[in-house]
Symmetry: C2
Subunit: 343 residues, 2 copies
């Protein structure tokens, strides 16, 4: 049997906490033998939820914490001030090696800040990056960074490309992932100052398969496996994906309700349509990992249901068993050494 992976789950984070969070944790341990879960949160509430389910009790334990970081709190303030919150306590378990990963549906900014300030970066990594999978016509693409670094530098983007490639290859299973930089045209001379500076660095970066620029139009068409960008641009892509899918679905529904004829049609296609649109839901692909930290942090969306929490936990298992952080550490440091040789 593979090694046991120990995942902290922030039982108090997200709109549906602790109910759905605890349920997802139970489903995860019941679905596989190689997971142990540590739930951080108010013991009384968490244990009351746990009492509803059947599971191997030695594989889920609760660590009591008084405090909760709220969604609207300032991230830096919350991480610095609420040492006994379910999120910070959980992050400290990862930091000290008592757990391999943490999953949270709580305050996104706090997860990003905590990744840097509490868990800490892998040696050599300049900036951790948030890297969600987004749906494409025939699969998924990794968007890196999706909001952790709004004013990134070229050297950060090169590391995002390296970390993203490792993740897509070893967690998602894409051999030789195609890496592209998000740009406003396919030609090499296009782009803003950051893209122009980063482009040649990606061209000369070893160990990645850089295919050049990608226009946003080509992302849903599956034009690349790893989309490299700063956190501001990446966040726009991620949010617009959500908003547009939502609006188009609403429009399609309205269209179908516009006549008697189309209403009958709607009844006949509703199952097929639901299936199709589900494959295009950004929340279907587990949580977004924050790559580059010592230990794994997975941010799942605020409205996460039990199935999202379960998927996010299972994602941590693959991450750990594939030794992603060792590979990142090795790859990044190799690059650093060669930089020094060049200089």
């Amino acid at each position: 049997m593979a090694d046991i992976v120990r995942v902290v789950v922030d039982a108090m984070g997200g709109d549906n906490a602790p109910g759905e969070i605890v349920k997802g944790a139970v489903e995860a341990v019941n679905s596989r033998d190689d997971i142990e879960v540590i739930l951080t949160g108010r013991k009384e509430s968490v244990d009351a939820e746990l009492a509803k389910y059947t599971y191997a009790p030695e594989r889920i334990r609760t660590v009591h914490c008084d405090e909760v970081i709220e969604t609207a709190e300032s991230p830096v303030h919350a991480i610095g001030g609420k040492k006994n919150s379910s999120m910070v306590v959980g992050m400290n378990l990862v930091k000290h090696g008592d757990a391999d990963a943490i999953v949270s549906a709580g305050n996104s900014g706090a997860i990003l800040v905590g990744g840097q300030m509490v868990v800490g970066r892998i040696r050599g990594v300049e900036r951790p990056a948030l890297a969600p999978l987004i749906p494409t016509e025939d699969g998924v693409a990794l968007l890196i960074d999706a909001g952790a670094n709004v004013d990134a530098r070229a050297s950060h983007l090169v590391q995002f490309a390296q970390m993203g490639s490792i993740y897509m290859k070893d967690v998602v299973g894409i051999q030789q992932p195609r890496v592209a930089i998000l740009n406003i045209g396919a030609e090499e001379e296009k782009g803003n100052a950051l893209v122009k500076e980063t482009y040649p660095l990606l061209q000369s970066c070893e160990g990645i398969h850089f295919i050049g620029s990608i226009e946003a139009r080509e992302i849903p068409h599956g034009g690349a496996d790893v989309i490299v960008c700063d956190g501001f641009a990446g966040n726009i892509v991620l949010k617009l994906y959500e908003g547009l899918a939502d609006t188009l679905l609403k429009k399609v529904k309205e269209g179908m309700m516009s006549s008697f004829r189309s209403k009958i049609g709607a009844l006949l296609i509703q199952n097929a349509l639901r299936q199709t649109l589900k494959s295009f839901d950004t929340s279907e692909y587990g949580g977004a990992p924050l790559l580059g930290c010592r230990g794994l942090l997975v941010k799942t969306h605020g409205s996460a249901a039990a199935s999202d929490v379960k998927n996010s936990i299972i994602q941590c298992v693959t991450f750990k068993q594939q030794g992603i952080n060792d590979k990142i550490s090795e790859h990044i440091s190799r690059r650093k050494k060669s930089d020094m040789t060049d200089a």
Copy 2:
């Protein structure tokens, strides 16, 4: 009757030139009394197309030019080098007051460069901005800038907000348009360096109705009427709109073809669906104006059909008759004066 508006149409620009371009020009003059069109391009080809239609001959004339700027050419090089191209000749007609506006489906970059280098900026405008209308749940929003200025400054974004407000009010007819800055969160303290610098300037800018930040998710929901951003971010939004709408439609169609039952359903809803999705097609809203130039430039997409060309020409009429450039000039210069008073 209102004043006649004289519109140059670049007959050689775009994938469907000159056939669809000339056809669109004829449709425009046949639909209204207040338009005159000047077609720039190879006279022989253009006149051969014109010969297919019936129209008042005094309202369409052809200006012969030997050269054509190709789609793949370097914009700066093309505008500087091809003085006798259909695009540059047309722009010079606008510059010298022989026409009010130019519509082109040709090389986008060349249109942006020509707007600055040939036609020239309105006094006081720091940077012209490309401002397409994009569909929302219940109408349209103006995206400014969508690609003319990839590395914009805060002062540019403030002018984009001013120009965009005037356009939405007087061309689109939205009273007190809601102006928002594209950001990665709704909170005031969020954003990259550019957004943080621009935010307070928009708050204190007179004559616009600034409502704060908008996340990309809220754009399709109709969260603002004028979306202010740099050209890099704006271009991502515009292109992702196109790509995602395309992919989702394809997915919906695939879903409907997945069973016999859903195929029957598909037949019943296809008309309703086509109508719905048409309202969400970014190319349905005429061309994108380049705001801030002396005279109007309208960039219509490369694959423009006759109806797109016609819509773009008609858009120029409203623009001219509403005196948009006078209003921009007045508004921007008023701001400049008050800046000086402050200093």
